[in-house]
Amino acid sequence: MKKALSVMAMALSLSLPALADIAIVVNPANSSDISDDNIKRIFLGKEKRFSDGSETQPVNLKEGASRDQFNEMILGRSSSQVSAYWSKLIFTGKGTPPKEFTTDADILSHIASNKNAIGYVDAASVNDSVKVIKTL
């Protein structure tokens, strides 16, 4: 099943050659198991702990192609839907959307210096300061 999905995902990504690869990254000290479902829940504010019990701190890129791609592929929603989702939670005091950063470099330096942070960047921007847990 998962293979079928990943074949589908590959087919999708092949049919959209304009998209860059997205790398999901965490602090090198973070050794928790993080599945796709975990990532999805973390970025929707539904999962507040990594498997080792430490607090999740997701960070977002500002609006743009990478964020759209991440939202579609991991969260399964368009960016507008994600923002409608958060507007529900914000105005109930039930949640706060992930902090936003402007560039890949900002994300990388934030994650490098915060043990509990998790984010995503263009795979081409990745450096040694972070650990890649998944590439889309």
Partner: protein
């Protein structure tokens, strides 16, 4: 007074730069609409008006510490002359990741979209289906407990809310006042993949003051104080039940809610309301359709009580019994078609046309066309 509170809140949020984590969010709904021909629907008539469903709001929230946060929301509604009201003001204590307790003035979770009722951006309609959502109270002064988490792949949420409320609402075409005391609201919700199911049960001690009906109750009490008491809504138990289902396949979605309201020991007819809505997500476009109904067209209650009266008083008793109940009897269906267009991730445009089919009074059949801009930040 209200303005002073707003000024104070703004001043205090501005003058406390040390509290770096004050979050300011807001939303704006600009909705214009008009009816077909001479129909009237809510505050709409056949001239374009923007005052009925438009609203602007600011929300301030701040973390007092790791566990405690405070939230205040101010809203200015067009149908209230854009007077600023403090919609919510509450503090939340995060007992654990799963459990939180809020106290203050807060929203009662009666419906799937209760929490974001005013945030047009959060749903596809111009406004949530009135047949279901037009209940007379949405906020209580009290407390709410949220408990949620995952069990395998199933996400669950439970909420319990309690408190008091005081609100104006429309009854039989006129403004009436409702007091709800000791409201108890239980909500349970489960989400699995694209499926969501939700149930709610609530009750409160309800008192309704209706200028439309007060004379009839006064008249009746001269014949029979006990019957008048029975009909009038004076700290009578009101019950509310609701169920909601949703399936979201990303490219399309369908959802519905069914609610039932009873005020057994009173003139108030039972309510049965529902809506079913569905839509397609085609890139930035979301065309949708909604069918909704509100049914307060029940058999007259307590007619048998008139038998106990002397023959000469029976007509008057019957008239009061039937008159008060018929005055608020209603049954209508609404059919809507509309489209939402997402301009960007915090701005949406919408258009919606609604046909109202009144089964009790054909003169209230109407058409309504609305366009809207929804913005959140």
């Amino acid at each position: 007074m209200k303005k002073h509170i707003l000024a104070l809140a703004i001043a205090s949020s501005l003058s406390v730069p040390a509290m770096a984590d004050v979050r300011i969010n807001g939303f704006a709904n600009l909705v214009g609409g008009m009816t077909s021909s001479d129909d009237r629907v809510k505050g709409y008539d056949d001239d374009l008006t923007f005052s009925e469903d438009s609203s602007f709001a600011l929300q301030f929230s701040g973390d007092v510490n790791d566990k405690v946060s405070a939230t205040a929301q101010f809203i200015a509604r067009g149908n209230n002359d854009y007077e600023v009201d403090m919609e919510w003001a509450y503090m939340t204590y995060e007992v654990s990741d799963a459990l939180s307790v809020s106290a203050g003035r807060l929203r009662v979770p009666l419906f799937a979209y209760s929490a974001s009722l005013d945030v047009g951006y959060s749903y596809h309609w111009i406004t949530p289906p009135e047949s279901v959502y037009a209940v007379s109270f949405s906020n209580v002064d009290g407390m709410r407990v949220n408990y949620g988490g995952f069990s395998g792949d199933v996400e669950y949420n439970f909420q319990f809310a309690t408190g008091n409320t005081s609100n104006d609402f429309e009854l039989g075409g006129q403004t009436a006042h409702l007091e709800g005391k000791n409201a108890l609201v239980f909500t349970a919700e489960a989400i699995y993949g694209g499926f969501k199911v939700r149930g709610v049960a609530a009750q409160a001690e309800i008192t309704i003051d209706s200028p439309l009906l007060t004379p009839a109750f006064a008249q009746l009490s001269q014949i029979s104080p006990s019957l008048s008491d029975l009909l009038a809504v004076r700290e009578d138990r009101g019950a509310f039940y609701g169920i909601g289902l949703e399936y979201d396949a990303h490219d399309w979605f369908v959802m519905g809610e069914y609610t039932r309201v009873t005020l057994t020991d009173s003139f108030y007819p039972g309510e049965k309301n529902f809506y079913v809505t569905g839509g397609l997500r085609l890139g930035q476009w979301t065309p949708f359709a909604t069918v909704e109904s509100s049914d307060m067209n029940t058999d007259l209650k307590f007619l048998e009580k008139t038998a106990a009266f002397p023959a000469e008083l029976q007509p008057a008793a019957l008239q009061a019994l039937a008159g008060t109940q018929l005055a608020v009897r209603s049954e209508s269906y609404r059919y809507s078609l509309g489209v939402r267009y997402d301009v960007e991730a915090n701005l949406a445009l919408k258009a919606q046309v609604t046909r109202i089919d009144d089964r009790v009074n054909e003169l209230d059949d109407a058409g309504l066309f609305r366009v809207g801009v929804n913005y959140v930040f």
